[in-house]
Symmetry: C2
Subunit: 204 residues, 2 copies
């Protein structure tokens, strides 16, 4: 049966370990997905490869892409733009590939508006205190920043209700295995496959 | 986190192999569920144990249970009643156990009305011709019976749209593994867990 790919959106509060989980998903070889490369206006860091780590571009070109509806989502941090170009995502899905987006919560909600068929996974800290621990251990943030992040995390956890699944990131391996199960089960959800079966009945 | 168990309803057209999949699910040790024992008015066959294979009862008592709303679903075949007693199912779910029901499609739809939170899995033959092969190989049915079953199967496949998942029973092991993934992912669906998280935020 020919089937469209799944758009898998991995999100969650800052500090929860989205990047680590995504990296482990790639390394584990448990998945067959293509990873969506983000576009940014910030300068490449040493070792970063254009088209692999990011698509690096200018502010003018990024703004043009937004104006032309060619960004699935985008955000501005400090003085730079970051976002997901729409065309490569749509192409990969149409070819039957699952596509993974790792993205912060505001971006994920924008994606949900444009692609409600996606599978929206919220990565959750085992509890808020552990989130606080992790942020503290990073050691780069001032107390005020930590408090602000905690408040934001509460808001973000309340945002969980806009997601399909809440996966606890107690251990990266557990989270990766659960996401594998989610992807497997979403591939056989009736609204995704019913048209193929209707066709099968007609052919008999 | 304390959590209610999942009601897992395994259904599908006759001849698709529901019983074999259920048996393999039990043997595989991949699941931690309790199996709902049906009630029937037919006589026990040699070796069948009351309370294990079925709850064996009289027609009067069965009719009384229906009248008192104590059956989750029931059906009449020829001259006997078969059905699922409600009380043990509710008790097991409340205790946090997943409960498996293997049931034909009409019964499954009745369960859906009473327990919409259940996970409804439709077991599907790889194609209708294979279903025909399987029924023929049983060798106990006349051609007219086979034709009738085929027509019924088409109706049942159209019923698939009332289910959450459509699992192809190409190989029993594949079906069992897919159901394992479905159960795992359903345990972290946001509508099932959101209340636990809301509580967590309040506690911080």
């Amino acid at each position: 049966m020919s089937e469209k790919g799944l758009l898998i959106v991995l999100s969650g509060p800052s500090g929860v370990g989205k990047g680590t989980v995504r990296q482990k998903m790639v390394e584990s070889k448990l998945f067959e997905f293509q990873y969506s490369v983000s576009m940014t206006t910030r300068k490449p860091r040493p070792g970063e490869v254009d088209g692999e780590d990011y698509y690096f571009t200018t502010k003018d070109k990024f703004k043009e892409a937004i104006a032309n509806g060619k960004m699935l989502e985008h955000a501005q941090y400090v003085d730079n733009f970051y976002g997901t170009p729409l065309t490569p995502v749509k192409k990969m899905l149409a070819e039957g590939h699952d596509v993974l987006l790792e993205i912060e919560v505001n971006g994920a909600m924008k994606v949900r508006e444009k692609m409600p068929d996606g599978v929206f996974i919220f990565l959750t800290p085992p509890d808020l205190m552990e989130l606080k621990d992790r942020i503290t251990k990073r050691g780069t943030d001032a107390a005020a920043v930590i408090e602000k992040r905690m408040a934001q995390a509460k808001v973000e956890i309340m945002m969980m209700e806009n997601y399909d699944y809440a996966v606890v990131n107690d251990k990266v391996e557990n989270a990766v295995n659960r996401i594998k199960d989610i992807v497997s089960s979403e591939h056989v959800r009736v609204p995704r496959v019913i048209d193929n079966y209707r066709k099968m009945i007609k052919e008999n």
